[in-house]
Amino acid sequence: MSDSFLVSPLGSLEYAPAPESAALARLSDSYGLFIDGRFSDPESHELVETLNPATGEPLARYARGSTSDVDAAVRSARHAYESVWRDLPGSERAKYLFRIARLIQERARELAVVETLDNGKPIRETRDVDVPLAAAHFFYYAGWADKLGYAGYGAAPRPLGVAGQIIPWNFPLLMAAWKLAPALAAGNTCVLKPAETTPLSALVLAEILQQADLPPGVVNIVTGDGTTGAALVAHPGIDKVAFTGSTEVGRRIQRTAAQTGRHLTLELGGKGANIVFEDAPLDEVIEGIIDGIFFNQGHVCCAGSRLLVEESVADEVLRRLRRRMDQLRVGDPLDKNTDVGAVNSATQLDKITELVEAGEREGALRYSASCALPDRGYWFAPTVFSNVSQTHRIAREEIFGPVLSMLTFRTPDEAVAKANNTPYGLACGVWSEKGSRTLWVAERLKAGVIWANTYNQFDPTSPFGGVRESGFGREGGRQGLEAYLDV
């Protein structure tokens, strides 16, 4: 964007920084584990640091849960299941969940800041998406707790027991809500393992559970790394494993679960196709493509990371897309004007960089937004590749970053064939003014979620989840209950 664009008779029209206060997070120096309704003394555990990815500096220390910590958490959950939660009337479980929903709403601003600091995503997203959706999810499933007999799984469906739940770092609080709310509504108790790089919002949630007076042991939160998660998955005392994360780890978890036959749901990776037909309104298409791939720095399993454009409008779409990318504001995640924040970790930045280099080597044409990047922390400029072929790694592998691969097509059949040419099957977008064609395409796409003339929409009433190597089971909606019922 040229500088003259920003000058008016009033002077410069540059945005002034509008930072949210980091102090609102009220972070502690160190955090213990949340087991049996109490926080343990952090000093009695091995402590690890969680960083602010926007600066690379430590935010707080937290406990790395050991095998014996996991064991204590599972035993507490089992006791709570058998002594309190399983037999509590649904209307009483509902009221606990309504309380949690309300407390999240009340502490929304604090939670948004905590999440932005720990994850690196823009405050605009944590404030407007992550936190309100987390509250809405508890609110929605609260309503199911005393209506299970109407959900279509029999007159009085029973819970499974103790659920071991492992969540990723891209939507830490929201994924905790997606896991806990349906499990608790159905009458299960939980052991939740937050991601290694983003443990903090789950620990604020633990405080909220205390404020809600949730009976001890109904929810236990054991922070840690992959070994903590592995200990939870392998623990003989759990009845159900729910995992959101990479397909690679999902495979390992499915193998472990295969040995025990316990219930399993997996929400894994994706390589979503965002399909643009020539009749689609291009201004809205551009915004949809931007939302589809740059929302949450592209750290979204359902991201529209493959752009499939009808050949007749491909040049125009690419030209407009590049111009729009140059207008994205990349930088301080706490700034309310920021569109794209920090990459969550050095490890993830390395992975993105490696795949982008492969894209260049394999002959795709790279364009990165002309934004200045901060000189510390982990950053990657919004990037689009054109001239991408289906065999390129950037068209096949999940990059999980702000990197879009553009391909073209000539007929609806070709669009469907290319969209389905992936082992994944989580989400797709279809852009067209012709409803009949959109529905025809939607019926043929191998994906769990399809957005028409929009992208990255989420709602607690709407089932989310994948087919093929994107996993199985649904979160959200009436279907989300099935993952936690013995039916």
């Binding site: 209307s91 009221k95 609110f139 609260a142 309503g143 209506k147 009949s436 529905l439 025809w440 395409v441």
Partner: protein, 281 residues
């Protein structure tokens, strides 16, 4: 020391968010269980009925169009407000029925829990009672439940607060607006609970409450062309006549049967709209 003198309350009608005396200026005496004077309640006229229906009709479209999530939040907010007035409500129930405090609290607690139950229904009605239909042809076909519109609800005559919540909240959670007639004998607790909608973000006109003599109001309500649904729970001796009058404009009616599933009342006030959409390119 003399005991402090109570400040007595004037009970009115609730129409379009306003607390009004009957346009007729009439009141009637409400007594406690042993015949002692409790309060003067407004005695609504047929004109008040028509005003209330106009208010309900005016509010219906925007109530229905507000998201199911918002409707749920508002009904839950109403339950929160009721929770903080639990003892006041129980006091009114206790005096009306001449029962013990614990028994009165039981009715109030049950009423609040029912409100919470209905709050949870708003965003589930479409999922439980709607759905996709696999028609034999290239169509995407789906059915969506919708409210029937304005519902007139006659509260149970025994004055049960839980029963009152049922007749009011069932149609509300499906997106209907309501003109309710409180129990003639025991209107005070119902009125006190309805008053709380003013602090629960319930939009004006969504819930309208009348008190008075059903003998006067029944025919106007039942024959009213702009009333789409009729809950005859508390209609007693007028139930059959009202059901007949309601046939004038094919008004949906609900009359409770022993052993009814609690969703039956809710289902009585939803319609189903089915959409056929072509598929193909």
């Amino acid at each position: 020391m003399s005991e402090r003198l109570d400040v007595m309350k004037t009970y009115k009608l609730l129409i379009k968010g306003q607390f009004l005396r009957s346009e007729s200026g009439r009141t009637y005496e409400v007594s406690d269980a042993v015949g002692g004077f409790l309060a003067n309640a407004a005695r609504a006229s047929r004109k008040d009925v028509r005003e209330a229906v106009v208010a309900a009709r005016g509010a219906q479209a925007s109530w229905w169009e507000s998201s199911a999530y918002l409707k749920g939040q508002i009904l839950y907010r109403w339950a929160e407000m009721a929770e903080s007035r639990r003892r006041d409500l129980a006091d009114l129930v206790q005096r009306a029925w001449g029962i013990g405090e614990d028994e009165a609290l039981e009715d109030v607690n049950a009423a609040i829990d029912r409100l919470v139950w209905y709050a949870g229904w708003t965003d589930k009605i479409a999922q439980v009672y709607g759905g996709a239909n696999p028609v034999a042809g290239p169509y995407f076909n789906f059915s969506v439940p919708r409210p029937c519109g304005v519902v007139a609800a006659i509260a149970p005559s025994n004055g049960s607060l839980q029963g009152w919540v049922d007749v009011v909240a069932a149609p509300l959670c499906a997106g209907n607006t309501v003109v309710a007639v409180a129990s003639h004998e025991h209107p005070l607790a119902a009125f006190a609970l309805a008053e709380l909608t003013a602090t629960a973000d319930v939009p004006p006109g969504v819930l309208n409450l009348l008190t008075g003599d059903l003998a006067e109001l029944a025919e106007t309500l039942a024959r009213h062309e702009d009333v789409d649904g009729l809950d005859l729970t508390g209609a007693g001796e007028f139930a059959t006549a009202m059901a007949e009058w309601s046939a004038d404009s094919i008004t949906r009616t609900y009359r409770p049967h022993p052993g009814d599933d609690p969703t039956r009342r809710l289902r009585s006030f939803i319609e189903t709209t089915t959409v056929w959409h072509t598929m193909g390119y």
